[in-house]
């Protein structure tokens, strides 16, 4: 059995379907499939399980069992960041024409420290280390912040080309870039991963990644292990050169199975078939993943030219009076389903799948809006969009239940914040002109236009039916500051459903009024 081929196939499959989740631009499948596709992702499953023990969040237990049987299969086949590194390693090796790894001692201080910090912080109630170190959420951050805009650019270029022939079948997508700090973090992250894997194989997985270290500890006790048959081994060292975990010591004829990421590269190169795994002898040829490499190179080159546009040219307005009062929020706004900011900050691993899935773009990664404890976790950014009244996509894709599954009926009465009105910023007051954009967009009529002076109408708010969706804030045309904004509820409240009287239909047999 060509174990390496199977590994490559499974890992590419996981990478592919996981990536697809992040580029479902019109919610065609993400909310129905993400639970299944992400079932085996270790940290999302573990975090979900810690907060609420359910069968659907038991994927990490399967990973633990698999590790006890065969070692770190998760690292070789399931982890999308691992496969991403494998692709970089592949490029690196092609460049050098040959594999040139060699045995190195483990960086045990690093890896155990990172694991210890992560676990201790988790037990003390902080998810911060997970947000920064978990391979799945880092993959999500990189994909959402860097790859996704590139793919959107490709889509938009295709859209423009087709449009020349009056073909409108590919819709242009609105690209919302991460804010500068989040973008910089993603760039640093991707650089570290690129450099480490390009030069040192899976060093990230064996020195930094707490999941790798944890599963490695478990792999010490695996039932089936890769090992060297000391009698038949000639000590030629070929296996060590292809070992991207740098864990085969040919001098000692020993494999450090704690660091082995189960890539099976060694199995197929050994001329004397001295590497044993469950007593199966392996013959396999190198799988050709040339196209993947090209795609990846293409993506990376796009990446360089797709730096975020920092500012949009402001329209020249002559008749408009600029307003003066800055908006201060007493609390950021967490998405509906997250129950409270505290709950959300505790559970969210910042994988940004919801950011990718949000159809309006209102969910954006925070920097310090939640404080340090919620760094990079998504928040409602009403300058980018507003929460669609009939949408619950984010709650259905969240792999840790930081955003709990809610359905439309419940979503419509979850109050994530309350609209606040700054009259002195409103055009009705500053320009003496009717506007009504906020009331127009309000789905519950918590914002209504009421009689003001001089035949003008001005917004009036009803807190108890406001759900804090931010439609009013997004629509408000005033510049530079909004005249209406949503102040977050640190603990989500329940809004009332708007109550209305019935109206009478008009008799179609009545005469025309003209």
């Amino acid at each position: 059995m060509p174990l390496k081929k199977i590994r490559i196939f499974i890992s590419l499959l996981f990478l592919f379907v996981t990536s697809l989740l992040f580029i479902d631009f019109r919610d065609s499948y993400v909310s129905n499939t993400s639970d299944y596709i992400l079932f085996l992702q270790f940290v999302p499953s573990l975090i979900g399980f810690l907060k609420a023990i359910t069968l659907s969040s038991a994927g990490f237990i399967i990973i633990l069992l698999v590790t006890l049987l065969w070692g770190r299969v998760y690292c070789s086949s399931v982890c999308p960041l691992g496969t991403l590194q494998d692709m970089i390693i592949k490029i690196s090796n092609r460049k050098r024409k040959r594999y040139s790894f060699s045995y190195h001692k483990p960086h045990s201080i690093f890896r155990y420290s990172f694991l210890a910090i992560t676990v201790l912080m988790l037990f003390s109630g902080s998810i911060g280390a997970v947000v920064l170190l978990d391979p799945f959420s880092n993959f999500g951050k990189i994909f959402t912040g860097l790859f996704r805009p590139v793919i959107m650019h490709v889509n938009n270029t295709a859209s423009v080309l087709l449009e020349q022939f009056n073909n409108y079948s590919i819709a242009p997508l609105q690209i919302i870039y991460n804010s500068a700090p989040v973008f910089i973090y993603s760039m640093i992250l991707v650089s570290i991963i690129f450099v480490l894997s390009y030069k040192h194989g899976r060093l990230f997985c064996n020195s930094i990644c707490p999941v790798g270290t944890l599963l490695g500890l478990l792999a010490r006790f695996s039932i089936f292990k890769l090992s060297v048959d000391e009698e038949s081994c000639s000590g030629c060292g070929v296996c060590a050169k292809v070992c991207k975990a740098d864990c085969i010591d040919t001098g000692e004829k020993n494999i450090d199975f704690e660091r082995c990421v189960m890539c099976f590269n060694c199995l197929e190169v050994c001329p004397t078939e001295s590497i044993l795994f469950n007593k199966i002898n392996i013959t396999a040829s190198t799988a050709d993943i040339d196209n993947k490499k090209r795609n990846f190179l293409a993506q990376m080159s796009f990446l360089l030219v797709s730096l975020p546009l920092i500012s949009h040219a402001q329209d020249k307005i002559e008749v408009y009076v600029k307003n003066k009062f800055k908006v201060f929020r007493s609390s950021p706004i967490s998405p509906p389903g997250s129950r409270s900011i505290g709950n959300f900050n505790d559970k969210c691993i910042a994988c940004h799948l919801c950011v990718s899935a949000c159809p309006t773009g209102v969910l954006q990664p925070a920097f310090l809006e939640y404080g340090l404890k919620g760094i990079f976790q998504p928040r409602m950014d009403n300058s980018k969009g507003f929460c669609n009244y009939d949408c619950t996509v984010c709650s259905h894709v969240c792999p840790t239940d930081a955003i709990e599954k809610i359905f439309i009926g419940e979503k419509k009465i979850v109050q994530i914040g309350k609209a606040r009105f700054i009259k002195d910023n409103c055009v009705v007051e500053t320009q003496k002109t009717n506007c009504g954009a906020c009331a127009e967009h309000c789905p519950t009529k918590a914002v209504r236009m009421v009689e003001y002076k001089d035949n003008l109408k001005i917004p009036e708010l009803t807190d108890e039916i406001c759900i804090g969706c931010g439609a009013c804030e997004f629509a408000c045309p005033t510049i530079p500051y909004k005249a209406i904004y949503v102040d977050g509820n640190p603990v989500h409240l329940s809004a009332k459903l708007p109550v209305q009287e019935d109206l009478e239909d008009i008799n179609p047999q009545e005469d025309f009024p003209f």
Binding site: I317, C391, A437, T444, P508
Partner: protein
């Protein structure tokens, strides 16, 4: 009979034999085709598609507006992610029927788009309009990308001198405006003229700078060839989005006019308001974008 006349008649005779007398007459413009004799057609009491059939027939049929091989753009109101019975968007069956009439008249392509308020994909889908447009063979075009909007001059505008308008409005041969009659927090009512806000890119500018005047200004830009005002189900309050289906009453009415201001003046009356209670109707009348004086118009009234 001079030579030229002889040739003309001979050719005409041949063609007339081949294509029927009507075509012969049309070919030389000897008889003006049955030009619409009404400024406004009001229909009441039927389903949206039936009302449109009757209404457009009294204007001589769609062939008076759409010639063979022409491209048509239809601009319904698809602004909101709500279901058809909420009447926040134009009735999808009406849109479908209009597309069918266009194709029967020989249209090459019929495009449909709106620059929506809610997320466009959900609006297109949940309004039912995407489905019915596809069923009728029309093409749904996204309206959410600034790249589709081109700068145009609005020379007769008071506040708006320029705007960015969707390229289909600029390029298509025929422009059919298909708004839905609704209450509106900012504009009092939204009808034909307000619906044109969905063909421009920067709507916030309008809100900042006097909504009513901007609406009226833009009505002078490109006059739709036909305005079809859907008043089958009418959102009486809480517009333009509405809160629930309780905001909606059944009115089973439809207005068709080539005069955008007249259509809106009649729409206001249907709703129970006087045209001059709505500033943008007044302003548009003053800018001569059309006439709000219904008494001066020839109106065809049809009850089903």
């Amino acid at each position: 009979m001079d030579r030229r006349k002889f040739i003309k008649n001979s050719v005409a005779f041949g063609l007339g034999v081949n294509t029927g007398l009507g075509s012969y007459k049309k070919l030389f413009g000897m008889v003006k085709d049955d030009k619409p004799v009404y400024d406004l057609v009001a229909v009441k009491g039927g389903e949206p598609d039936v009302m449109f059939d009757k209404g457009i027939a009294s204007l001589g049929g769609m062939k008076n507006f759409v010639n063979k091989n022409k491209t048509v753009v239809i601009k319904p109101n698809i602004g909101w992610d709500t279901s058809p019975e909420r009447a926040a968007n134009t009735n999808p069956i009406l849109v479908k029927r209009i597309i069918e009439h266009c194709y029967e008249a020989g249209a090459k392509t019929v495009y449909v788009f709106d620059h929506t308020c809610d997320e466009w994909g959900r609006c297109y889908r949940n309004s039912g309009i995407e489905h019915y447009v596809n069923a009728a063979g029309g093409t749904m075009v996204p309206g959410n990308s600034e790249s589709y909007y081109q700068k145009v001059a609005v020379p007769n505008g008071k506040v708006i001198q320029e705007a960015k308008a969707h390229e289909l409005i600029l390029e298509s041969d025929v422009f059919i405006n298909v708004p839905v009659l609704k209450s509106h927090g900012g504009a009092t009512l939204t009808m034909s003229m307000k619906n044109l806000m969905g063909v421009v890119w920067d709507r916030r500018y309008w809100h900042r700078n006097g909504l009513h005047q901007c609406i009226a200004d833009f009505a002078t830009f490109r006059k739709p060839d036909l305005n079809v005002l859907d008043a089958y189900a009418v959102m009486k309050r809480n517009g333009p989005r509405g809160v629930s289906v309780q905001d909606v009453i059944s009115m089973k009415s439809l207005l068709i006019s080539t005069d955008i201001v007249a259509a809106d003046a009649a729409g206001a009356k249907l709703f129970g308001l006087e045209p001059d209670e709505i500033d943008h109707i007044k302003y548009a009348h003053e800018l001569k974008a059309g006439s709000m004086d219904l008494s001066g118009l020839s109106i065809k009234r049809i009850k089903i």
